[in-house]
């Protein structure tokens, strides 16, 4: 595995970006996008998470195997939400 050492500048830039996104998170919360509130929040959150994963956790320069395992968790996390399918469709048919 390549022994990639990132520069302080790279880390600092990512940190700065994360802080900007934090400000954005708080600012966006003051606006009401209706049902899109959560979508906006998640998009910002995912961007932050991706920055942390790629740079702070070193996945950008990792091997394919590391990429695989870094992604599997999030994919499977989404699978849990198949449960929502039950809650969303309850009460849709009279008597069930």
């Amino acid at each position: 595995m390549e022994h990639h050492v990132l520069s302080v500048k790279t880390y600092a830039s990512v940190y700065a970006a994360l802080l900007v996104l934090l400000v954005l998170t708080v600012v966006a919360a003051n606006f009401n996008f209706g049902t899109f509130n959560i979508v906006v929040a998640l998009i910002i959150g995912v961007t932050k998470a991706v920055l942390v994963i790629l740079y702070f956790m070193g996945v950008k320069f990792g091997t394919r195997l590391i990429w695989l395992w870094a992604s599997i968790g999030f994919v499977w996390f989404v699978l849990l939400f198949l449960t929502l399918g039950d809650y969303i469709t309850r009460g849709s048919v009279i008597g069930w």
């Binding site: 195997l65 849990l80 039950d86 309850r90 009460g91 849709s92």
Partner: protein, 586 residues
């Protein structure tokens, strides 16, 4: 280069193996309890798992004895609830989940891939201590009076109303779950990173593929049940009632989260067994497994698809009808990869040179019983039929057919098949085959009547029942007694063989695989030099004999010792099996 030097003739003159191996290298208690050798850890697991099996079986004995009378015999209602609960908990979490992976998997995976140990040996030891700690907690809960919630811990009974030792029991299961996760992590990294040169993915034994798939499930599913059960503990102790209806909580959410793991868990239990069967079938048909790629990918398919079907345990709850329909269709789909395996095993045996031994009998029993169990699963996957069959003995019979008729037979088959490798001794074949037959008969007598009475409406988890079912229950209990005898027999003769059994050669079955190319038992570091693999996974043909000869020569001393053994066998009138060639006695 240190050679495993074995003087010709020396093997026969001693009661114990002369060569230094993982068993005799050190005898202190500390060298066992602080070992990081995957083979010793496998033996530690073998002993402890057998211990828990006995406890779970005793609980089953209590259940079956109680059921011989239709209006209660010696257990109160609560006592009966506790009996089937402890049976389920011990058998699922402390026996079936770790049985094959932690014993056979731990022992064989490094050998099969040509590695000197797993990727994380100390994590391996930790996993055993987690298992033991969990077991101690579970036994404590048992001695403090047991638990009466069923192994499924449904809320709000488990979280609010039950007065039994739920918290301690759950904490025990929690620790066992982490043991499972540690094993899964170890196997995944090992199989990815530690394969010997030339051991490509598609030259791996199917046993290894099966364990990779199993490890995927362990990693992806176990944490969900861990947090879910932890939430029950938190609800009981801190009143954080996520499942409490009084707070708007949904008890069905518990069921969703519980089964999100527990359904894939049944694949954790069966897929390693399928891996064992592939190995046994190939060896005792003297043929490569038909459709290797299909079988390999079917293990992965089962692991993945198994995560999409949990809702079939919630058909009769308030789960929505549309959701149920989706889960029903997906449950039908997950049967397909299993069926692919059964077809491929059958095709493997076809036109093979079949050699009947105890492992082969167990494997054949597996295929028949697993097929019945699996097909009855399809009945239960059909929504309309499930409404009538759910929570009846039909369900109990279904899962015992796959878990006991399937998994336990595969486990026993595997233990017998690799016994010479693990212990350095051979077991008495005649008695072993008898035990396999007794087990098969006892099993069917126990569980087939349960299909019938379940279909006729006998509910599960009841000990006071309508008199019309008593006949079936008595048959079932009689069968359970026979089954118990069938399980006890290997305990006796396998232990007997440790002292009085014939010394095993490196490859008593003439099987193909790296594990058969080290001495029995293997030395601590498995291989003196990392082997280079140039042959396909199940190269059971005589033209591979030359390559096999070359490989034997690469292990100094072993080749001579094996040949000396063979010569002694010939003088004494026994025809030894040839590597990948004709079976013994041909």
């Amino acid at each position: 280069m240190a050679a495993t030097t074995v003087e010709p003739g020396a093997l026969r003159e001693r009661r114990t193996a002369l060569h230094e191996n993982y068993l005799n290298v050190k005898h202190t208690v500390a060298s066992w309890l602080l070992t990081i050798d995957h083979k010793r850890i496998a033996v530690l697991y073998l002993v402890s798992i057998s211990f828990f099996f006995v406890i779970g079986a005793a609980a089953a004995g209590m259940v079956r004895a109680e059921l011989t009378s239709h209006n209660g015999l010696f257990l109160t209602n609560e006592g009966y609830n506790k009996a089937f609960t402890i049976h389920g908990i011990i058998m699922v979490f402390f026996f079936l989940v770790p049985a094959i992976p932690a014993t056979l998997g731990n022992f064989l995976i490094p050998l099969m891939i040509g590695a000197k140990d797993l990727a994380f040996p100390r994590l391996n030891l930790l996993s055993w201590y987690l298992y033991i700690s969990g077991g101690v907690l579970a036994l404590s809960a048992l001695f403090l009076g047991g638990v009466d919630t069923g192994w499924t811990f449904y809320t709000p009974y488990s979280s609010i109303y039950s007065n039994t030792n739920v918290v301690i029991m759950i904490l025990g299961i929690f620790l066992a779950g982490f043991s499972s996760i540690a094993t899964g992590m170890n196997f995944i990294v090992t199989i990815h990173k530690m394969r010997a040169p030339g051991m490509t993915w598609f030259r791996l034994p199917l046993f290894v593929w099966a364990h990779y798939a199993t490890s995927l499930i362990m990693i992806l599913g176990t944490p969900v049940v861990a947090i879910t059960l932890l939430l029950v503990v938190v609800e009981r102790t801190l009143h954080l009632g996520i499942f409490d209806p009084a707070l708007g909580g949904d008890p069905v959410l518990f069921q969703h989260l519980f089964w999100f793991y527990s359904h894939p868990a049944v694949y954790i239990m069966i897929v390693p067994g399928m891996g064992v069967v592939s190995e046994i079938m190939a060896c005792f048909s003297r043929k490569r497994v038909f459709g290797y790629t299909f079988v390999a990918f079917s293990s992965i398919a089962i692991a993945v698809l198994g995560f999409f079907v949990w809702g079939h345990h919630l058909f009769v709850t308030s789960q929505s009808m549309y959701s149920s329909m989706v889960f029903s269709i997906l449950s039908f789909l997950v049967a397909i990869p299993s069926a692919i395996k059964v077809f491929n095993w059958t095709a493997t045996v076809y036109k093979g040179r079949i050699w009947f031994t105890a492992p082969m009998l167990y494997a054949m029993g597996f295929i028949g019983l697993f097929t019945i169990g699996g097909l009855t699963g399809l009945y239960l996957a059909s929504l309309a039929i499930d409404v009538h069959l759910t929570d009846t003995y039909f369900v109990i019979a279904h899962f015992h057919y796959v878990m006991v008729g399937g998994q336990i037979m595969a486990y026993l088959g595997g233990v017998h098949f690799w016994w010479p490798k693990i212990s350095g001794r051979t077991y008495p074949e005649g008695i072993a085959m008898l035990a396999a037959v007794v087990t098969f008969i006892g099993f069917n007598l126990t569980f087939f009547p349960q299909f019938v009475m379940g279909y006729q409406g006998m509910p599960r988890r009841y000990h006071i029942y309508a008199e019309e079912f008593q006949f079936y229950h008595i048959l079932s209990t009689a069968g359970a007694t026979v089954l118990g005898v069938g399980y006890a027999m290997p305990a006796f003769y396998l232990l007997w063989s440790l002292r009085y059994g014939k010394l095993a050669t490196a490859n008593p079955w003439g099987a193909v695989g790296l594990e058969w190319m080290t001495p029995s038992p293997p030395p601590t570091h498995n291989f003196e030099d990392t082997p280079t693999v140039t042959w396909e996974a199940y190269a059971y043909r005589s033209d591979v004999e030359e390559e096999a000869q070359a490989d034997r020569e690469s292990m100094p001393g072993l080749g001579e010792a094996v040949e000396e053994e063979a010569e002694l066998d010939r003088r004494e009138g026994r025809t030894p099996p040839e590597f990948g060639g004709a079976p013994a006695g041909d």
